[in-house]
């Protein structure tokens, strides 16, 4: 038989038609119960590895310091909520349903040491998920910083003993008080894993919320639940309960009085020049670039500004991240967030660092003995 162009074209057409006929017949088995042939599994995995490697190189920015222990509690808490069921955790087996998936999600504790993913590649997988595998994307694509926290956690996961994991993911073993409302009790226990029952926050990337203004907290939780504020961790957490419970949680944390913390780990004394710059921005702003004084709205004596949060004594790392999100117009939040986005539109990186450092060193709101801990005086003046 001689290969002619005509025959080659005919062969392609017949093959394509045959393929379509096979797909139409429904004889191809998409059942997860049968698994993949080894060659299919190998091929799909090979394609995935290539794709992750290429996109990690092209799209993922350089990681921050992943040895920072402040990154771990929030990531561990989120891992326990969203990841451990399929991927297992130190001292926790995989869920039964996970084992019935095709491809089966790997037990990360055992699997990660046998892989050579770079930090950027892990970031790519965690942020964007993997098609045809059941691996979802991070709930918000505006928060690569949260994903880096998860990468830092994954790096330590293989060596982590069950006790360390439990402490990181479920808190320091404090027992939340119980009330007549079991939904609220369950939700508070969930919040407390990262924020503590008193709202002090378990690391510098988790904000202090104990003693924060109630309307601000309520509007923020609603914004997370409705997808108006970007956070893979908090959007998931806020949708696990109902709107009335969110309001109860806001009231609980507004009334909470966290113990005045000593300077949190990782927030050593910044240099005096930086603090002076931060104070100047807080009190006078950067008028020639349209940045107003922070204290005009965030002053401690402003209880009437109900939707403007207290930030005195807040963690510098948290403030720094939020200011960047505001400046890039990605922060979201209550409808007032756009006012803040305009205010810091022209602020520069070093100014953000300075003003965050200065506010972090002010007497903390809500702590016993500060103005914000007293009942709000009459608005006006």
């Amino acid at each position: 038989m001689i290969l002619t162009l005509r025959r080659a074209v005919l062969a392609v057409v017949v093959l394509a038609a045959g393929g379509l006929l096979f797909a139409w017949s429904g004889l191809f088995n998409v059942a997860a119960s049968t698994g993949h042939w080894p060659v299919t599994a190998w091929f799909l995995h090979w394609v995935m590895q290539n794709s992750v490697g290429t996109y990690a190189m092209l799209t993922v920015e350089s990681p921050p310091d992943l040895d920072d222990p402040a990154l771990l509690p929030a990531a561990a808490g989120h891992y326990a909520t969203g990841c451990a069921y399929c991927h297992a955790a130190p001292g926790e087996p995989q869920g039964d349903v996970a084992n019935a998936m095709t491809p089966p999600p790997p037990r990360l504790v055992d699997w990660l040491p046998h892989t050579d993913w770079s930090d950027k590649e892990l970031h790519r997988i965690v942020e964007h998920g993997v098609k045809y595998s059941g691996m979802p994307a991070w709930p918000s694509l505006l928060r690569p910083d949260e994903v880096w926290g998860m990468v830092a956690f994954l790096r330590r996961l293989p060596e982590m003993d069950p006790a360390t994991y439990r402490t990181l993911a479920y808190g320091e073993g404090e027992t939340p008080p119980t009330s007549a409302n079991p939904d609220f009790d369950a939700a508070l226990a969930d919040c407390a894993r990262c924020h503590g029952v008193d709202g002090a926050g378990r690391s510098t990337v988790i904000p202090v919320i104990g003693g924060q203004k109630q309307p601000y907290l309520a509007a923020t939780l609603r914004a997370y639940a409705e997808g108006h504020r970007a956070s893979g961790i908090m959007q998931l957490a806020a949708t696990k309960t109902t709107a009335p419970v969110l309001d109860l949680l806001a009231a609980h944390y507004a009334a909470a009085r966290p113990a005045a913390a000593s300077a949190p780990a990782g927030e050593g004394a910044p240099d005096p020049e930086m603090l002076a710059q931060g104070e100047a921005i807080a009190t006078r702003g950067v008028p020639n670039r349209g940045v107003p004084a922070c204290l005009a709205c965030h002053g401690v004596d402003r209880p009437e500004a109900a939707h403007v949060p207290h930030i005195e004594g807040q963690h510098a790392a948290y403030l720094d991240r939020q200011l960047h999100l505001f400046r890039e117009e990605e922060r979201g939040g209550s409808p007032y967030w756009k006012v803040m986005a305009v205010a810091v539109h022209e602020i520069e990186d070093d100014e953000i660092a300075a003003v965050a450092a200065w506010f972090a060193r002010q007497p903390r709101f809500g702590a016993p003995g500060t103005a914000a801990a007293e009942p709000a005086p009459e608005a006006g003046g």
């Binding site: 702003g285 004084a293 005009a296 409808p335 986005a341 608005a379």
Partner: protein, 334 residues
Amino acid sequence: MGSSIGKRRLARRAAAVFPAVLATGCTGPQSALDPAGREAETVAHLFWVMTIGGAVIWVAVLALAVYAGGLKRQPVSEAFAFRLIVWCGAAIPTVILAALLVYGLYLMPELRPWTREAAAEPGLKGHVTGEQFWWRVRYDLPEGAVESANEILVPVGRPVHLTLTSPDVIHSFWVPALAGKMDLIPGRTNRITFTATKPGVYRGVCAEFCGESHALMALTVRAVEPEEHARLIAAEARPAAVTAGAGLDLFIAKGCAACHTIRGTPAAGTVGPDLTHVGSRPTLAAATLPNDQAARERFLRHPDAVKPGIRMPAYDMLPPAEIETLARFLGDLT
């Protein structure tokens, strides 16, 4: 300026020969052809001389062309061609252009009074900053500086000396009825001096493209007799008419005070326009909206819809009652 009377008469006579139908669009509060200031009169004068001169040349050239078209076709002598080229191609244009140049140079001091003794004449001193997309105005009075925005009060018959600059991009200050243009350039201080000759309200614009809402960056200049001016400036220097109440409380609670000053109250922001007497200004948003309750409410809710690219955040999340209270409060700041 003894010659200005004669120039004005010439300008008036020139205007009279122009068909009235063409000239109707040339009057009003924002026309260089309807001057109400000494410098603008010089500009108008220059315009008419150039226009009439240009018209004469145009008619002469066309007449020559028509005449040449009617001539019998025959070769001209080399000497005639040489004379034609030398006289019509070189000599006459040189004389005309030189005359216009000398005339322009002669007018220059009048167009730039800040370079002459007029700069030393006592008058109103002030500072204007062009910002995207409004005008920060500061009167430098003997008693101290008084800040305002988007409106300049000037005395008739007295020179106004303004220093001009910008913190963001290049703008240009142009009140056509009163003076020529002067740019506002970041990192540089320019000066302009002008003298209003007729009382009235004149409109100025930004005459250098400065961004999305460049076309909405205007201002009003109100020229009044000196006694009236002294009274208005004294009123401008006073603290706000309203220094307590629900409106001010909202103004502070909602963050307005972070960017705006209302003298006599805790509101001391310097990012946006001074609002101490905003209720007495004829317009809102840099001569973009009338200053009435409906316009103030609309501007508070959707400033970006009124002026794209504006730095003022939208307050559409406030309940209507609060917007109304705020807008009424601003209107009461006379």
